[in-house]
């Protein structure tokens, strides 16, 4: 089932044309990987999906992006509600300068998802558990989150995102700041999360894309060159640009 559809999406930063006529479907409960050389517009596309680009003054988005058939760029759309449904994890872990507990509790708190302290404890615990972090931090929930290791911080950010119960989680190179062991943990986590969430992940590692994703989209210089099942894209790419990228010739 298609969760998100992008039709004829063009993005401009001032005069620079960063994304050209992108058409892409994101399917429910699948992991979609966005790959391509640096500067090709992967992050730009990802940030279009929860309208994070609205924060950038010079950025202009054209075309259609629909979540369950509803245009998310409709002026009537409430950004708060949209972003609660489409969560995001960033390239560099960005925990708030608060305690571990408060980081995870922040989303549920502002949205009023917990009606009691016990319920909030529940949400925090289960989110941390599902992010595979609970065992490591259960004794220091009150400690500042900035004291965690990089990999722990990134899992905390994932826990923070899933605490709000989004339908989709966008991840922009979530492992680029992490070592291989932390990366492996997060990849395992992504695999598990796709049961309940739809996931879009930007990655520079072809192996990672191959390991975690069901579908892969290849961007090049602002064009969506090719999209298909991950196996197909990696084994029988249609476009020569994809071919040369996955074989390590460009990017």
């Amino acid at each position: 089932m298609t969760k998100l559809t992008a039709r004829n999406v063009n993005v401009f930063y001032g005069d620079a044309h960063a994304l050209k006529q992108v058409n892409l479907d994101i399917r429910q409960n699948e992991v979609t990987a966005l790959i391509g050389p640096s500067g090709c517009g992967k992050s730009t596309f990802l940030r279009c999906l929860n309208r994070m680009n609205d924060l950038i003054e010079a950025c202009r988005v054209e075309g259609n992006i629909c979540l369950d058939g509803e245009d998310i760029y409709d002026p009537a759309v409430d950004l708060v509600y949209l972003r609660a449904r489409i969560g995001m994890v960033f390239q560099k872990p960005n925990p708030f300068p608060k305690s571990v507990y408060d980081n995870v509790a922040y989303g549920p708190k502002i949205h009023g998802l917990a009606s009691s302290r016990a319920e909030m404890d529940d949400i925090v615990t289960s989110s941390l558990e599902r992010a595979g972090l609970f065992e490591e931090v259960k004794d220091r929930l009150g400690a500042p989150a900035t004291g965690l290791s990089g990999g722990q911080q990134q899992r905390l950010c994932i826990a923070r995102a899933i605490a709000v119960c989004p339908e989709i989680i966008l991840m922009d190179e979530p492992c680029s700041a992490l070592d291989p062991i932390a990366t492996a943990r997060i990849e395992a986590l992504i695999d598990e999360l796709k049961q309940n969430f739809t996931i879009v992940i930007v990655t520079h590692s072809m192996q990672q894309a191959a390991r975690v994703s069901q579908r892969t989209a290849f961007f090049h210089l602002g064009d969506l060159v090719e999209v298909g099942d991950t196996d197909t894209v990696f084994t029988k790419p249609v476009d020569p640009r994809t071919e040369s990228y996955i074989s390590g010739h460009i990017g």
């Binding site: 960033f90 608060k98 923070r160």
Partner: protein, 329 residues
């Protein structure tokens, strides 16, 4: 012929090294001298501080010969006028600084009640909400306020604010003296708004964008992001901005000289007239009196007090802002 001429020219041409030596020696000497000048001028700033400290200390020590330190610091009565008469010893005038400290604190408190919220809110608006056009409109307003001389604020306090406060509070049955702490404090608060807001603006702008994006990504509204994430992250820097505001408030002279008056009442009621350290310094040193009467010396003791207080505030504020900036480098 040609051959010899050339040889002669070769002969006449000094060696590369010799040229370099002569020129360089002169150049190096010149640069040394210049560097000396540069170094010397950078010492002027230090000398100024030393000059301030020494002139204040020296005169204060002489003042303390006439008035015991404890009487000065803890005395509840300030009436230096008595000491002016020749036949009286200096110590028979009352030099208790407590009423001045309370008055200074009271006016500073009123000022910060105005400048704190107004300064912070406008900083938040400028940093987080304003479009570039709104910023281009709002920033000059604050810059103009910052550029108005304090003597103008003082005149405005006397001309408009004090009569307005007196009339409006009379109509609701309050008694406000025409030289109230309130009038001076409110006007001083407006004067301090640009100081607080420009520092806080910088501090808020230095909060990394990634923290904001983290909050927006969870679905926080702008005000929630500002309140829960940006402001707590910027707190030390904002504290620094407020402290610098307080430091300005206690050191401000003209507004209080013109609008607060001379009566050394020991009160925390902002509707009454109080006096401040700076007002008394001006009062003690204007008019013709000989240089070393306790009256003039008292001004230096007050100056030392003021200098120490603002120095502590400034250093804490600078440290807070510095440490904060390092955190998010």
């Amino acid at each position: 012929m040609a051959q010899t001429a050339m040889a002669a020219r070769d002969e006449a041409r000094p060696s590369l090294l010799a040229v370099a030596k002569g020129r360089r020696a002169r150049q190096i000497l010149g640069e040394r001298v210049l560097l000396g000048f540069l170094l010397a001028s950078s010492l002027v700033a230090i000398l100024t501080t030393i000059g301030i400290v020494f002139s204040l200390l020296f005169e204060t020590i002489r003042f303390l010969d006439a008035v015991p330190l404890l009487d000065f610091l803890f005395g509840l009565n300030w009436s230096p006028q008595i000491a002016i008469r020749e036949d009286q010893v200096g110590s028979s005038g009352a030099f208790g600084v407590v009423p001045l400290l309370v008055g200074t604190g009271l006016i500073a408190a009123v000022a910060m009640t105005v400048a704190g919220p107004l300064g912070l809110l406008s900083a938040i608006y400028l940093a987080e909400y304003a479009s570039p056009r709104a910023r281009g409109f709002a920033k000059p307003i604050l810059e103009i306020l910052a550029g108005i001389p304090t003597v103008v604020y003082g005149f405005f306090a006397v001309l408009v604010v004090a009569p307005f406060l007196r009339d409006s509070s009379e109509s609701i049955g309050f008694e406000v003296s025409s030289e109230s702490a309130l009038a001076a404090g409110v006007v001083m608060g407006v004067m301090i708004v640009p100081i607080v807001s420009s520092l806080a603006d910088d501090v808020i702008a230095a909060v990394p964008q990634s923290l904001r994006e983290g909050a927006y990504g969870l679905g926080a509204t702008k005000s929630e992001t500002v309140r829960d994430i940006v402001l707590p992250a910027a707190l030390p820097g904002i504290g620094g901005a407020l402290l610098l505001g307080v430091s300005r408030a206690i050191g401000e002279t003209m507004i209080v000289v013109m609008a607060a008056g001379l009566s050394a009442n020991l009160t925390v009621n902002p509707l009454q007239a109080v006096t401040t350290i700076t007002v008394q310094m001006v009062a003690l040193l204007t008019g013709d009196q000989e240089f070393d009467s306790p009256k003039t010396l008292a001004a230096f003791a007050l100056g030392l007090l003021l200098f120490i207080a603002t120095l502590i505030l400034n250093l804490i504020a600078l440290m807070l802002v510095r440490r904060y900036q390092e955190r998010y480098d």
